[in-house]
Point group: C2
Chain length 248, copies 2
């Protein structure tokens, strides 16, 4: 499993992903699930992946290959297409191409086994920063004011805190805090989501990679947050009106 | 879908269940998923059900039929077996019998379609109060000091708050508050879990039904809790140490 979150704030984008992959609970590994493409001053793109690791690695490899200057096969490149919409379309087509390729003639069941879902965000000069969720079918939806975040992978445990506490006008720092709490809830519940976590913060119109962090076992801030959250939640519960068993 | 929670406190048991059943989002109904058997002063048993409605209704009907005094077919009765362990065994066997009966020769796929999972709790005179989760295979596990609660149905959204905030030595009132928050998170995320909710609070050694409530749309306490929780969570987030983007 996997857990990745992308948030769209008024002043930028926040991406966080875990790094655990597993084929059974006795076969776990660490793989990066967050990838970047950058042409400083012109575009900055971040991709997060959930699903079959062979599929997502093939997608990233193909995107990389086709972005090489030496590449002359005429395939469009993630570093050249003129807008974030075109980037999303290109990534979606690449994903669909890889899934079809791996599935061969094995039919819909295999297609589901080789499936993957992606979160893509970033900005191309001349456009706004945008955030997309890309489906295995190659199509995609875009984050909006009403739904300013996407999750992929093991999304349920960590959703309530984001739904309740996140708003698009908060600071990067607060948004990161909420995202970490969402990861903490998920890590506590599902062994197939694991540290370290990758973080990228993209500031609107910077058109370059922003702060990148790897949050590892023993990260003092994450530990303090995880420890403090139990207490903070208990206090939050106490702040609410008491339930009366003996009223009517 | 469904959501049911059973909590084992030091001084009793708390049960809460939703009432929504659905066959597609365009075919939803209200069905009770919490059932009681009582012999005042001798035993009090509560059962909550998740899964195929035909299966769970058949289980409850069979348990009821066999508990009738007129019933002389020699089947053991939920009101007669001598301990909560025997009650759990009986309910598990009844569940397995119903699933097998409905499946016929249709094989494992049908078995999964007709499947159901149950939470059973209560007390029989001479024993402690106990809480069990019963699987479609008819076997069951019991709540312990380390895992003092069970959830069935759509369990993920509402798990983090219980894991973080529930402890076995809290009051019934606080435990109910936390359970309602867990339901609120789930209701907000999954349309197939819906109001009204049923609540039963069993006080250890009372050997009779305790407080029973139906929490319906417009319940003023539940609404206040739901409204206040967003604010309380935001405050809880603020209580935690701030994340610093510009430290090392």
């Amino acid at each position: 499993m996997t857990y990745c979150v992308g948030l769209k704030l008024k002043h930028g984008l926040v991406f966080m992903s875990d790094t655990r992959t597993n084929a059974g609970v006795d076969n776990i590994s660490v793989f990066r699930k967050m990838f970047h493409w950058e042409a400083t001053g012109e575009r900055c793109i971040t991709l997060m992946t959930a699903g079959n690791l062979a599929t997502t690695q093939a997608v990233v490899s193909l995107l990389n290959e086709r972005a090489l200057p030496a590449e002359e096969r005429g395939s469009p490149s993630i570093l050249q297409v003129p807008s974030m919409y075109q980037v999303a379309k290109l990534v979606g087509e690449t994903l669909q191409e890889v899934i079809r390729d791996q599935t061969g003639d094995a039919g819909p069941n295999a297609e589901s086994a080789f499936s993957a879902t992606l979160i893509l965000g970033g900005q191309v000069k001349g456009g706004e920063s945008r955030l997309f969720m890309i489906y295995p079918e190659g199509n995609f939806v875009e984050a909006s004011e009403e739904t300013p975040f996407f999750q992929i992978g093991e999304t349920k445990y960590g959703k309530p805190i984001i739904v309740r506490a996140f708003s698009t006008d908060m600071t990067f720092e607060d948004a990161i805090k909420i995202t970490m709490l969402s990861f903490d809830s998920t890590l506590k519940a599902n062994l197939s989501v694991g540290l370290p976590l990758d973080l990228h913060v993209y500031k609107n119109d910077s058109l370059r990679l922003g702060t990148q962090r790897r949050i590892d076992q023993g990260d003092s801030y994450f530990e303090a947050l995880s420890l403090g959250w139990g207490e903070a939640l208990k206090n939050a519960v106490q702040d609410l009106p008491p339930y009366r068993l003996d009223d009517t």
